[in-house]
């Protein structure tokens, strides 16, 4: 960014006009220069005349002396009025300049004293003394030298030879201006090498310019060289026509004696003055012996040239920016159709810069720019308030424009800064590059969730601690400030740490605008506090938001786990990408998918099994039909021998058994795959057991076993398919009858335990039981030889049917005690759990319940 610091050019009473635009400015061409030189000449002439009078010519000299003295005294006084303001801004480049400017703004003009010059002089002296003190305090050392016109007034009174000598000695130190003053062919004063020490000696008409470097001192002036009372000026070796048409007017270039209408008294007739001016004036800093002060000599000419250079630069800048602005405007106008595109390009470019850089850069730029632009804006504000000519001296409008341009440039820079920030915020929100944040995030994500949570808490803790420290620091700073302020109020002087700190910063960044910056720094302190507070609040807020989101996610995860438990396997849990539980959710989803796949596989394989069994049983059934039919035909044959009839009997029985097995296998495969149609209804378990026992009464009575039953008279209602449940108990009882020890007892009991209807069938096995055997597996039987009548499917069918009805069947063996427990939820309790009822039977079951619960009134029965 281009920061322009226009060194203020001051006191351009002359309109430099076109000169400044042509290469290296020649300050010697300025009117101010000519004015200065005339004044110097006049002064030196005065000095020579004064010296002449002092040295003897009493009568004539008094007149001359008083005239010269009056002239000398009056001139500075008059000039002080005008020059005062020049000086005001002269040192604005220095940081103390503002204070100085302010100071001199408040100095009264001579008119306030009503022409009382003595009083005014007195007043000015006081002011100068105060000014010097103030400048001293700022460490400003340039004031009070011979250069300053005030010096004429305050340091030298020319009342005596000593004072004059002191002044001339000071003047001699200004090597920018070489001079020689001759009176009555006697060299009075000179600061030229080889002549300075010859003061008081005879002048033999030597040409002083011969001893000087013509390049360095390109301006030579002689007064009265040829004893004609005229001035000769040579610049760069070229004789200049000083007098033009020989008549002095307001437009004349040189205000020197020698015109037809501008002559000077007789007393100057034997005075010769030589002046040589440096082409590039320097500053001469001289430390007086025994003084801590450094006095600056040659400042006027130096500043004159310096100001011109600065002005030229300023004008160049003004021209440059104006041109650039015009060109840009023209381009903007010509390319107005691709404006949107340009805006997008800019936004794209801004996006490339990562957020962290921007966040760091923006405050820095803001502070820097605020510091730099405060001065120009202040001036702009003054222009606005007091009119354009507030700083204007002698109509130097070009310079004014240059300064306005400066303010304009700052305005433009501010505008673009704000525009870019707004544009960036508007266009690139949410899609910023932010590697550092992302890095933090990514780093965060590498940790498992528990570590992440702890880290987050740690971060909050650190933020809180930092906040506490910051508050303590602010308190200290405020306390310090209060101390300083109190000291200030009570008039004491104390070293200011705060100011010292500010000074350090200001030197780095450039001074904003004088003392104002010091207070700005104080104002910025709460700003920093608020920024820090905001940051920490943000950290806490972000943490809170993350915690909230985590809570929501935990809820969702818990719900999902519940849903999976309930059997919902299709809907996956989708959490946002940066969720802490994302991984857990993904894992759960995978489990879910795995379960779903496994279940699907299982269902598929079960279905295949059923299909296989169905097909196989179908294929068996057809030949079996023939077997049974022909066995029956054989059985009907009358003339067969007895043993053949027995064979036929066996054939028939085995064929029947095969039929049973085929049917059983078919049913069990359907039951286990959930394809068995169910008729669920509310029924009385006790009644069902009694019915089953009654149905099997013949078998039971034919066996050697004794049935011991404990079935309550009160109804125990369960929801099940009665037909299937009958099959269950039929199988269980048949099992008991078939495998029990001869003459032993079979115990059947029905109890209600914790909302469950529990049926227990206990019997003593006829053969030794193997403890580890699962009797409910298909084709598993106590006797491995398979010679008995059982298919090995009885218990398996019982279990499948029980489970299909929503109950549970367990087999326990204790030594030879064989216990089968069938448990069903009691109907009242069952209702709530309807959801978990077997899949295929749900609808049918409900309808069946409603059907069976429809009461049949006695009237209905009677009416039939």
């Amino acid at each position: 960014m281009m920061v322009i610091n226009l060194a203020p050019a001051v006191g351009m009473t002359a309109a430099c006009g076109i000169d400044v635009f042509e290469g290296q400015p020649d300050y010697q061409e300025s009117e101010e220069f000519r004015y200065q030189i005339s004044e110097r000449l006049s002064m030196l002439m005065g000095v020579a005349a004064w010296g002449k009078n002092d040295s003897g010519n009493e009568a004539d000299g008094t007149d001359a002396k008083s005239r010269a003295g009056q002239e000398l005294n009056n001139r500075p006084l008059q000039e002080a009025v005008t020059v005062q303001e020049e000086t005001v801004v002269e040192q604005v480049a220095d940081y103390a300049g503002e204070a100085a400017a302010e100071f001199w703004d408040n100095v009264e003009g001579p008119e306030a004293f009503g022409g009382d010059w003595d009083a005014y002089q007195q007043y000015l002296e006081e002011q100068q003394a105060y000014y010097d003190e103030m400048m001293n305090e700022y460490g400003y050392v340039g004031a009070g030298g011979y250069d300053d016109y005030y010096g004429w007034i305050y340091s030298y009174d020319f009342g005596d030879q000593e004072s004059l000598d002191r002044y001339m000695a000071d003047m001699a130190k200004d090597k920018n201006l070489r001079y020689a003053v001759i009176c009555q062919n006697k060299l009075l004063y000179s600061n030229m090498e080889g002549f300075a020490e010859k003061a008081g000696q005879e002048w033999n008409g030597e040409d002083f310019s011969q001893t000087l470097d013509a390049e360095a001192y390109n301006f030579i002036l002689w007064y009265n060289k040829e004893n004609d009372g005229k001035v000769q000026i040579a610049k760069d070796g070229m004789e200049e026509n000083v007098y033009g048409n020989g008549v002095y007017s307001d437009n004349s270039r040189w205000r020197v004696p020698g015109y037809a209408n501008f002559t000077i008294g007789e007393s100057f007739g034997d005075v010769v003055v030589f002046l040589a001016v440096a082409k590039n004036p320097q500053l001469y800093m001289v430390r007086e012996d025994g003084s801590s002060r450094v006095t600056q000599y040659g400042g006027r000419l130096y500043d004159m040239r310096q100001n011109m250079v600065c002005l030229q630069n300023a004008v160049w800048r003004a021209v440059f920016f104006m041109t650039a602005a015009a060109v840009l405007l023209a381009i903007a106008f010509l390319m107005r159709k691709s404006r949107r595109q340009a805006v997008e390009r800019i936004a794209d470019f801004l996006r490339i810069i990562c957020l962290e850089v921007k966040v760091l850069l923006l405050p820095f730029l803001t502070i820097l720019l605020a510091g730099k632009s405060a001065g120009p804006f202040l001036r702009l504000a003054r222009w606005c308030m007091y009119g354009f000519s507030y700083y204007n001296r002698g109509g130097d409008y070009i310079y004014e424009i240059a300064r306005l341009t400066e303010a304009g440039v700052y305005l433009a820079v501010w505008f673009w800064l704000i525009y870019l920030v707004v544009l960036d915020f508007r266009m690139n929100r949410g899609r910023q590059k932010r590697p550092l944040f992302d890095l933090l995030k990514v780093k965060d994500f590498k940790y498992p969730i528990q570590k992440r949570l702890v880290r987050r808490k740690q971060r909050t803790l650190i933020a809180e601690i930092s906040l506490s420290i910051l508050f303590a620091a602010v308190l200290c700073a405020v306390w310090l400030f209060m101390q300083e302020y109190t000291t200030y109020l009570t008039g004491g002087y104390n070293y200011s740490y705060v100011y010292d700190a500010y000074e350090g910063v200001a030197q780095e960044l450039g001074y904003p605008s004088g003392l104002a910056g010091f207070y700005i720094a104080y104002l910025m302190m709460p700003g920093f506090v608020f920024a820090a507070l905001g940051t920490f609040t943000m950290i806490t807020f972000i943490d809170l938001r993350k915690t909230y989101r985590l809570a929501v996610d935990i809820g969702a995860l818990a719900d999902q786990i519940l849903a999976v438990r309930e059997g919902s396997l299709t809907e996956a849990l989708v959490l946002s990408e940066d969720s802490d539980l994302r991984e857990a959710a993904d894992n759960l989803n995978q489990i879910q998918r795995g379960m779903e796949t496994a279940l699907a596989e299982q269902v598929k394989s079960e279905r295949m099994k059923v299909d296989l069994v169905t097909n196989v049983s179908h294929d068996i059934k057809t030949p079996l039909t023939s077997i049974i039919s022909y066995a029956e035909l054989l059985r009907q044959e009358k003339e067969l021998p007895q043993h053949v009839k027995e064979y036929i009997q066996i054939l028939g029985e085995k064929a029947e058994r095969l039929r049973g097995i085929v049917q059983d296998v078919f049913e069990i495969s359907k039951a286990t795959s959930g394809q068995l149609p169910m008729q669920m209804e509310v029924l009385d378990m006790g009644k069902l057991l009694r019915q089953t026992l009654a149905d099997m009464n013949d078998q039971i009575s034919q066996s050697t076993l004794v049935m011991r039953t404990a079935i309550p008279e009160t109804s125990v209602e369960v929801t099940a398919d009665g037909q299937r449940l009958y099959r269950v108990f039929q199988n269980l009882l048949q099992n008991a009858l078939r495998y029990s020890l001869e003459g032993s007892r079979v115990y059947l009991s029905l109890t209600e335990e914790a909302g469950q209807a529990v049926v227990r069938i206990k019997n003593t096995s006829g053969m030794e039981l193997t403890a580890s055997k699962d009797f409910t597996e298909r084709f598993v039987r106590g006797d491995e030889s398979r010679t008995d009548g059982g298919s090995g499917l009885g218990l398996s069918i019982a279990k499948s049917f029980t489970e299909a009805c929503g109950g549970s069947l367990t087999v326990e063996t204790d030594a030879d005690l064989f216990t089968v427990t069938v448990a069903f939820p009691v109907s009242g309790q069952e209702q709530a759990k309807d959801k978990v009822a077997p899949r295929t039977t749900e609808g049918q079951g409900k309808e069946a319940i409603q059907d069976s619960e429809k009461p049949v009134t006695p009237e209905e029965v009677e009416s039939v």
Partner: protein, 232 residues
């Protein structure tokens, strides 16, 4: 009896076995081995009953049955190796009068043939009776005045208690009676553990009226609730 039965099955051995069985029972049997052949025979010959397998080449049993039902109203017994309820319901709803699952017991098939033929030949006669005096339920008919139960038009010999039970059940077809209620109504005294008593009688009745007592069609146990007469 000289009723003519058409047996249709692609398994020649089964057809032959059925034919032998039925001929022993005194029926005239015509054999066919696929649906088309059955249709052809039906067009030429007078047949009183058809026994037909479902799965056959050329024209399957169900399609053939639909063709037959377009013109004739004779009883059809469907044979199938498929024992699922849905198959049975499908067969019956498409016009079969009875459904016998393979492997069947020859005696049962013979009984069903007999039952169907009886009903078929007696159809007009049943309707001639006064409807108020008899309750008809499928093969069964209970004549209130006579206090007699007829199965396929033949009187069934029932004991007095059995008759009472049947009267109760026939009067309230489809209604489920708990054993207690049956006992109280039939024996007309309070019941105490009636399950066994009622069950014994029910079993006896089944053996008398059901074609296959092990898989009863009329007097059914509603397990865990009671007993009922299936409404046909």
């Amino acid at each position: 009896m000289d009723a003519c039965v058409l047996v249709v099955d692609d398994d020649r051995e089964i057809v032959r076995a059925i034919a032998l069985l039925l001929e022993k029972e005194g029926y005239r049997v015509i054999k066919a081995y696929d649906g088309m052949e059955a249709l052809r025979i039906l067009a030429e010959t007078e047949v009183q009953l058809i026994i037909m397998d479902v799965m056959m080449p050329k024209l399957d049993g169900l399609s053939a049955m639909m063709k037959i039902r377009e013109r004739k109203n004779l009883p059809i017994i469907v044979l199938s190796a498929k024992t699922e309820e849905t198959d049975k319901i499908l067969g019956l709803s498409m016009g079969a009068d009875d459904y016998v699952a393979k492997p069947f017991h020859p005696q049962e098939l013979a009984a069903r043939v007999k039952s169907q033929l009886r009903r078929y030949t007696m159809l007009g006669g049943i309707h001639a009776q006064n409807e108020a005096e008899e309750i008809v339920n499928g093969r069964l008919c209970y004549r209130l005045k006579e206090r007699t139960l007829y199965a396929d038009g033949e009187p069934v010999r029932l004991t007095a208690t059995e008759t009472k039970i049947m009267e109760l059940l026939m009067k309230n077809r489809g209604r489920i009676f708990p054993a207690e209620e049956i006992y109280e109504r039939v024996w007309e005294e309070p019941s105490f553990s009636p399950e066994n008593t009622v069950m014994v009688h029910i079993r006896h009745i089944r053996e008398k009226i059901e074609l296959n007592p092990k898989e009863p069609e009329y007097v059914k146990v509603v397990w865990g609730i009671g007993y009922k007469m299936e409404k046909k």
